[in-house]
């Protein structure tokens, strides 16, 4: 009898917690996590916007066979036999987060209505925009800002457009800037590479890898990104051109 009660209680707990888990809505961090998994596992074929396979636009809810979130979870886990879409070892929870991320992207599509031109965008990137003063693409430009050689594989066009208009809206960990003042009065600023309780590592404005022991510093702290807004620099067409160019940056060709 005692054993039965214990079993019943145990079974109740499982179903109870199961219900709670399935009833839970995805949080912002779930969506962010789903985005991370999407970029690592899906974007290589589907593209960061999810629209690089003909007939499929994951960010706009255009699928070949899936009718529901459950279908999407199943396809993510089991793949589509007879196509290049492979099975994955994602858990239910992980796959659901990817789906939540895809559902969330529809709300944040690029707002530019103009169709961009890659060649014009490259000319603006290297000329009027002066982007190479801080960024590097295909081995040309500065290393002060994040390297953009593969940015088209890593970021959605909506994110890129937002970074151009409002760079402070979202700064990735790889794009944070830091400033230190040493005890002998030298000020060094640069892009932060690593920080811990005792030390700071950065690439400074002269593209030197620098490491500081905090005991040798008078001051230290984050500073705003030097990335300016291009809202008034570029018109709508130019903005679309630059975004198109950035989306086209997908790594270097093999020699």
């Amino acid at each position: 009898m005692g054993g039965f009660v214990l079993f019943a209680l145990f079974a109740f707990c499982i179903s109870h917690f199961d219900l709670r888990a399935s009833a839970q809505h995805e949080t912002a961090s779930d969506i962010e996590d789903g985005g991370r998994v999407f970029r690592q596992s899906c974007a290589n074929c589907h593209g960061p916007d999810g629209n690089e396979i003909p007939g499929i636009d994951l960010g706009r809810g255009i699928f070949k066979t899936a009718k529901s979130d459950e279908d999407l979870v199943r396809i993510i886990q089991k793949g589509v036999p007879g196509t290049p879409m492979p099975a994955t070892n994602m858990s239910d929870e992980q796959a659901k987060r990817v789906v939540a991320y895809l559902r969330s992207t529809a709300a944040t599509r690029a707002s530019a209505t103009a169709v961009g031109d890659v060649a014009r965008g490259k000319a603006l990137f290297e000329g009027k925009g002066g982007c190479l003063k801080c960024h590097r693409a295909n081995g040309v430009g500065s290393r002060i800002g994040p390297d953009l050689t593969r940015i088209g594989q890593q970021r959605r066009s909506a994110d890129l457009e937002r970074s151009l208009i409002d760079p402070a809206a979202e700064v990735l960990p790889t794009g944070r800037f830091y400033r230190v003042v040493t005890k002998d009065g030298a000020t060094v600023t640069g892009r932060l590479l690593n920080i811990d309780t005792y030390t700071v590592q950065m690439i400074d404005m002269q593209e030197q890898l620098r490491s500081f022991s905090k005991t040798n510093l008078k001051e230290s702290g984050f500073i705003p990104s030097p990335m300016p807004s291009f809202k008034s620099t570029f018109n709508t067409q130019e903005l679309a051109d630059v975004v198109s160019y950035l989306v086209s940056l997908k790594g270097r060709p093999t020699p």
């Binding site: 590479l193 030390t199 002269q206 030197q208 890898l209 490491s211 020699p255």
Partner: protein, 543 residues
């Protein structure tokens, strides 16, 4: 500002920049001994002497060495890489092929670049990497899927990625590349399988292939007739360890691996050139200038992929430009590196398969000392007297330092595999050596660091270890020799006497060579053991 102060400011600015991370020109690599704070190639300079001109750590104070930092690799593979240090930044490889840049003073990371080798990548003896090369602002790495990858040293960004040979055809790369002038030269491993080994040169800027040398000559080329039938097509002869470069002759030197199949030569009758050899290649053309074969028609897996050490010594009363070579086959050699002439050779451990050399330097075989159905006890062990770990030469002491081991093995041919003493009768245990059979006799098998007089190859001193060693050796101008062993000790020995000065228990096998550098006036010595890289320096107040 006066003209003079203006000039001073400009000069000061130039000096300040120069003391930071300047471009690593080939001139700097060639003369790396002029900047002892740095370690610019696998064994220090292209001569591969693995000698540090730094003197802060010396025989009197080595007892005060103290751990400064540890960097733990997120990898369970053997840590075989020797780090590079360029102006305070340390670069190394997390096996198999992730590249990291660390602050050489604290071990804290600047960046990590992960590289995922193709799923078909196969290696014989661990998914390992022995280190990087650098030129300009670019790092170079060979990968286990047989690619050569160039990375931006400031950011880790991959600049180009070139397939050297096909991983599907069982080629891999584990060695550190050799940079010479504007070229990156690398060889292909995989020679325990049916490959045809290659050494290829690539344009350092673009990755364009410039030349390719096959370690097995093709039809119509000299040496092809040393392979019976079509065995040349799949005869192995991998290249999997660092090469050397001699600027005076413009020759690059590489050791080559065993012929395949390893332990059964019946399908590949003949000398099997250029297996188990050193090949001297013209760097501009890739043409063979000379070769010397250490073990013709090898059936004992005696790869000659040891690191060639180039030195200028007095030999029989005359100055000679030599190459020193403690071979896996148990014999030690002095070759003239200009002509390839055999100058001297002798056994440095117990050897029972060879009995001296003829007048031209060809090794004389002992009849019957080959794998047999019943099993033949062969000395040295199938893993050799030494294997791939880098040795050292000190221009101060004039001694050649080698970490090696005394051992034997029973080699029985059963198809292509030798019979092991362990639980699997079909395969030997590559990468691990089991001494259990000999634990009742400490003289039967042991590891040792020995110092040899390179003109006579007589040992001058030795430091014995209970277990064998796959560690490299570093010597320094402080007259300290650093090495270690499978037991996981890191050792500092007196370079002139072999006396133990200091030791540290690192808790994992030493499978790499030590190196040394300095930052802000402090000398460091690093060693990889287990899955971690350890950096030691003198205690703060120690002198």
């Amino acid at each position: 500002m006066t003209r003079r102060t203006g000039l001073f400011a400009i000069v000061a600015a130039i000096v300040a920049v120069a003391s930071l991370q300047a471009q690593v020109t080939f001139e700097r690599i060639l003369h790396a001994d002029r900047e002892p704070q740095n370690w610019l190639s696998y064994s220090g300079t292209p001569l591969n002497q693995r000698y540090s001109p730094l003197t802060q750590i010396n025989t009197a104070n080595a007892k005060n060495l103290e751990l400064q930092w540890i960097w733990q690799a997120r990898s369970l593979e053997k840590f075989e890489a020797t780090a590079l240090v360029v102006d305070g930044v340390l670069y190394t490889v997390q096996a198999p092929n992730d590249v990291v840049a660390l602050d050489a003073e604290t071990g804290r990371p600047f960046w990590t670049t992960t590289y995922a080798p193709a799923p078909e990548a196969r290696t014989c003896c661990g998914r390992v990497n022995r280190g990087l090369a650098i030129l300009g602002d670019t790092l170079y790495m060979g990968t286990i899927d047989a690619h050569l990858v160039a990375l931006d040293a400031k950011t880790g960004e991959i600049l180009w990625n070139k397939e050297v040979a096909s991983a599907k055809d069982r080629y891999s790369i584990t060695m550190s590349p050799l940079v010479v002038k504007d070229k990156v030269i690398i060889g292909t491993a995989g020679g325990d399988g049916p490959i045809r080994g290659q050494i290829a040169a690539f344009d350092a800027k673009t990755g364009k292939e410039l030349w390719r040398f096959y370690t097995i000559p093709g039809p119509g080329e000299p040496g092809n007739d040393t392979w019976s039938g079509n065995s040349w097509m799949t005869g192995g002869v991998g290249v999997w360890n660092a090469g050397a470069y001699d600027a005076e002759t413009n020759l690059a030197f590489f050791g080559t691996g065993n012929p395949a199949p390893d332990w059964d030569g019946r399908s590949r009758l003949g000398d099997n050139l250029y297996s188990d050899s050193v090949v001297a290649l013209d760097v501009d053309t890739g043409k063979l200038k000379w070769h010397y074969q250490f073990t013709p028609h090898d059936e004992l897996d005696y790869d000659s992929t040891q690191v060639p050490v180039l030195a200028d010594i007095q030999f029989r009363g005359k100055p000679r430009k030599v190459m020193l070579w403690a071979n896996r086959n148990g014999l030690m050699y002095v070759l003239d590196r200009v002509s390839g002439e055999f100058l001297h050779g002798r056994a440095y451990v117990k050897v029972n398969w060879a009995d001296g050399f003829d007048s031209k330097g060809r090794v004389q075989r002992v009849p019957g000392m080959v794998p047999s159905k019943a099993g033949t006890v062969i000395r040295p062990h199938v893993h050799g007297a030494t294997n791939w770990a880098p040795p050292s030469f000190s221009p101060r002491t004039g001694l050649y330092y080698v970490a090696h081991f005394e051992n034997s093995s029973t080699v029985a041919v059963e198809g292509e595999f030798p019979r092991a003493n362990g639980i699997n009768p079909r395969q030997t245990t590559m990468g691990q050596i089991n001494l259990q059979n000999f634990l009742n006799n400490e003289d039967e098998a042991y590891g040792v660091v020995r110092a040899y007089d390179p003109s006579t190859l007589e040992p001058k001193w030795e430091y014995k270890m209970a277990d064998i060693t796959w560690a490299g050796v570093l010597s320094s101008a402080g007259d300290v020799v650093f090495s270690g062993g499978k037991e996981g000790y890191f050792l500092a020995l007196d370079a002139r006497t072999g006396a133990l000065l200091w030791k540290a228990a690192l808790g994992g096998q030493v499978n790499a060579g030590p190196m040394s550098y300095s930052v802000n006036g402090k000398q460091y010595v690093t060693i990889a053991a287990g899955n971690s890289l350890f950096a030691f320096a003198l205690r703060g107040d120690a002198k």
